[in-house]
Subunit: 141 residues, 2 copies
């Protein structure tokens, strides 16, 4: 049993979709945009401080979430990938699907997403299944 | 001579600091926070679409800019690394040094940086020198 704990603010803001090889995959509860968050199980708080092996694993997981976004949300035309951490220092990477018709295009989502929607249970099941498939698929060739 | 062209909006917003192995290194003209932008010389517009070799080179350059930020701006306590591209589609990665006393902490910089400062010539020379040193240093071991 891992002793790794996800920051309570992230858990409050997100659904927990599943476990990848390095990271827990979260989904922001606001369904106004498809907004995933990867939380690598690592003590470092900056990308550049990760062990090279973890950095490579995280890149692979970012790519897997990008692929998942494109498959599951055909409207998405732009991916936003960001590690900020000004409010929650625990290292976490946002991977967000955007398109010209979304509620805060072209602004970044942080602080600009006025619209609130909730994910349906069917969507959450489907995305958790996609996360399990991504975890099983492993790194890109 | 490379035919690669940096998007005019990025050039309008930034000083051009120098060339790394894959990317041109820019510095946002607003000196209110130390805000670097890497523009990899690649046709893809998403991180996940880069060739694996370019992705690895870009990671190395992100790390080099993070190290440069920590050396040159000791007040910095948090690094923000982000590839958004909603306004300028050309792939570019923001690497920004943040701390609790900066003008828009803890908000992300985009749309929240009300304060305007300009870089002095001495600072620009020093940072261009640091960029040259980073380019010469190459990938981390």
């Amino acid at each position: 049993v891992s002793e790794f704990e996800i920051h309570p603010q992230l858990l409050a803001d997100c659904h927990r979709l599943g476990e990848l090889s390095l990271s827990t995959l979260l989904l922001n509860r606001n369904a106004a945009v498809p907004w995933f968050i990867l939380v690598p199980h690592a003590a470092q708080t900056e990308l550049c401080d990760l062990a090279p092996r973890d950095r490579a694993a995280l890149d692979t997981e970012i790519d897997a979430v990008c692929a998942l976004l494109r498959r599951e949300f055909p409207a998405v035309t732009k991916l936003n990938v960001a590690a900020l951490g000004n409010q929650v220092a625990q290292l976490h990477v946002h991977v967000i699907g955007r398109h010209a018709g979304d509620p805060c295009w072209p602004k970044p989502v942080w602080g600009n997403l006025r619209e609130e929607r909730t994910w349906g249970g069917v969507d959450l099941e489907r995305l958790a299944g996609a996360a399990r498939a991504a975890a099983a698929r492993g790194p890109r060739p």
